[in-house]
Assembly symmetry: C2
Homo-oligomer: 449 residues x 2
């Protein structure tokens, strides 16, 4: 993990990349993917804006908010950039409905977009500046995450939080106009703030880790702007981030093809508000529902790789549990033929029919299946077996959601957030955010009326 | 690391301890140690209040500060409890002059006392409530740190930051009056915010990690108070804090003798503003200076265990480096016969005589010496050898600073902070803080006039 004079420090290379990138060099496909990510982000945040977890986060942050206020998406109160970053990140990620960089299982947008939008609103920056900083921040986030995957997550690190703080720092550093050296130091300062545990994923403590990735990434950039520095090798040094938090880091991943190949271009979007590892099983269940009536189901076996079992084989006692339960995911898809926000809510949790079917779902290991695939086998009451195998889930890289599907998802979320009436115009304005001279107006309109 | 029904979760046991503790059960020795810790804390913070690193932190935090303001020690501006916690923790720790729990090398007070004092000032709490919460928070901090030592630090974790967030959360949870369950969840939320890297210790990024321990610990308690929860085994679970951040945790240390034996009672105070591992070498050099005139010194060999070399054998390019350099520590003690704040400043860094002598200091391994001990051997220009061996440094558990020495240290720091004129009355008020109905008045008087 040493650094030779011929090879820059990891943070140095990323800092130079972030500071030197030119908007004109960002191609239309990447810009469009950023638009898709933001459309998905705003929808998810709108849909969750009324959730008690978001309400609580906003209430706790309110007394600690300075006078320059930014939009809290879907809500009436406004908070300073730290507070708005914290709450909007929590909202956009809350329902496990946001985006996924599949290789690392990072959900890239929430922690990066939130502080950038808050900064842009307060400082009057343009949409192109925001979109550019977002792309750079998300790229840094995914590359740093890729360097420590999969050992990092396996060790207990919630990678969206731990890598998210780097993405937020990089994006904010760019948006604040920091030079290459300051961007480098912002990333080093972010390294000392990287935190978040997998153990806490089924609890609200997860939200705090997520919100902090945004809030502390913004702080890292502000401190670097003000002159704070970090160790040159904060990321890769012998007592630095990658060694402390990764078991076998591949540091070359941080810089290989930087500026040429884009990890962020591999971003994907969830069709279902549940852990990404359950999506193939949900697809299989939705398919089987065409063939077997719910009342006829005697037993359900869901098979997948070890990750599916590790993540999903659990007791279900809350809506949060539902979103990471293979039993609930399968039951609701088989019973209702749907897997939307309402299907992973408190109501669905307590639905007697779903509860009964959850109890008939078993999870099993098929080590021969690749990660992300699932096989579901039903037996009906007459003993007949029905099976469906899904190798590539809807929304995966092989079957990406179309722009129209993303718009429909936005409408669903906007409707939950009470914004069905202007969902159409909002969608059009979000698609055009890169051309907006004043994205603050869009943001203000995304706050509650 | 599993938990049986017979054995509570680690956070559950600590939460019950924090919530149930009664002030009447805290003996006079422990109360007095807390007073010593706070006297040392306030002095260190006063001494560093004018440092550019503190000035910068306060300037960055100012726009993100809500209307309810607390004291920034030694400074005129006031910040909300989050901002004041952040800045005061940075100041109290900045000069490596604060306190040390020697087994873990945690510097316990700065991250715990700062948020408690800010909360007390804003909410009008009593001195006894603050002192009690401080003792409990520092105890939790040291116990959690002990459970993962020494593998945690060796892996790259800056334990004062990573354990400090638990101490701050526990103390704030107590001061806010949370019940046992809420205290438990506050600790679990803290686990998802634990961060800070040894690699960054020679840089200002260290300060951000320190300040965040306080700021995020306060946030953990506030979120738990507002209803946020964490995973039951956030600390010790298979994907929890101790496994992610420790190599071979000894979880029994968290609860063994809880309420009977006090890790915090082992707190010590630094006589010199430099890394604790250099103190025995400084003592030896101060002794040798009585025997050899500085101009006669031809060479200096400082020997100690591996930690001394790991921490101290480095290039010196900043005042920050001086404080963690065995070469500078030895040179300044030999040349000036002192090792105070001015001896680890920019001025001392650039002093030609010290620079020349730094170049004649060599560090060597003597694996036979216990941690914390040092031998210094000089050769004078006539080839004569002089040697001094210090097994227990001044300020160590075997040779603790007296109350009078702590008062003298406070006066030194107060003088640097421009408060020599009222240092005496301040000392008396700090000793009596546990009896103060309104510690806010003391805190306000510790802000700049």
């Amino acid at each position: 993990m040493g650094t030779t004079p011929d090879r820059p420090f990891a943070g140095e290379a990323l800092g130079a990349f972030v500071a030197a990138s030119r908007w004109a060099e960002i191609g239309p496909a990447l810009r469009h993917e950023a638009g898709r990510s933001l459309l998905n982000f705003f929808g998810c945040a709108l849909g969750a804006a009324g959730d008690p977890a978001v309400e609580t986060a906003a209430r706790v942050m309110a007394p600690f908010s300075g006078p320059e206020r930014a939009t809290v998406i879907g809500r009436a109160e406004r908070l300073d950039a730290m507070g708005a970053s914290f709450v909007n990140t929590i909202a956009a990620n809350l329902l496990d409905y946001d985006d996924t960089h599949l290789e690392t299982v990072i959900h890239p947008t929430a922690p990066v977009a939130s502080p950038l939008l808050a900064l842009a609103e307060i400082r009057g920056l343009t949409g192109a500046e925001v979109l550019h900083a977002f792309i750079l921040g998300a790229e840094v986030e995914c590359r740093i995450g890729a360097a420590v995957s999969p050992g990092h997550y396996d060790r207990g690190w919630h990678i969206t939080s731990t890598a998210g703080v780097f993405g937020a720092a990089a994006g904010c550093a760019r948006l604040l106009g920091l030079d290459a050296r300051q961007c480098w130091h912002a990333l080093g300062i972010a390294a000392s703030q990287s935190a978040g545990l997998v153990e806490n994923l089924p609890s609200a403590a997860k939200n705090v880790g997520m919100g902090n990735a945004a809030r502390n990434g913004l702080l890292a950039a502000l401190m670097a702007q003000a002159g704070y520095t970090a160790a040159p090798a904060a990321i890769e040094g012998p007592l630095g981030w990658a060694r402390a938090m990764g078991d076998a880091p591949d540091l070359g991943r941080i810089t290989a093809g930087l500026g040429q190949e884009w990890e962020f271009a591999r971003n994907t979007y969830k069709p279902y508000p549940a852990g990404i590892v359950f999506h193939a099983a949900i697809d299989a269940c939705l398919e089987l529902r065409q063939r077997v009536a719910p009342d006829d189901i005697a037993s359900v076996l869901v098979e997948g790789d070890q990750l599916l079992l590790d993540r999903g084989d659990r007791l279900v006692a809350s809506a949060r549990d539902c979103r990471v339960s293979i039993h609930h995911s399968a039951a609701v898809a088989l019973l209702r033929g749907s897997a939307g926000v309402a299907d992973f809510s408190e109501g669905a949790l307590h639905d007697p029919g779903i509860a009964a079917l959850r109890g008939r779902v078993k999870a099993g290991l098929d080590a021969g299946l690749p990660r992300g695939a699932a096989r579901v086998t039903l037996h009906d009451r007459r003993g007949r077996a029905f099976s469906a195998l899904v190798m590539d889930a809807r929304g995966s890289a092989a079957r990406p959601l179309t722009d129209e599907e993303l718009e429909a998802k936005f409408r669903e979320n906007a409707s939950i957030g009470g914004r069905e009436s202007d969902a159409g115009p909002l969608i059009q304005r979000i698609w055009r955010i890169g051309d907006a001279a004043d994205p603050a107006a869009l943001l203000r309109s995304l706050g509650a009326a």
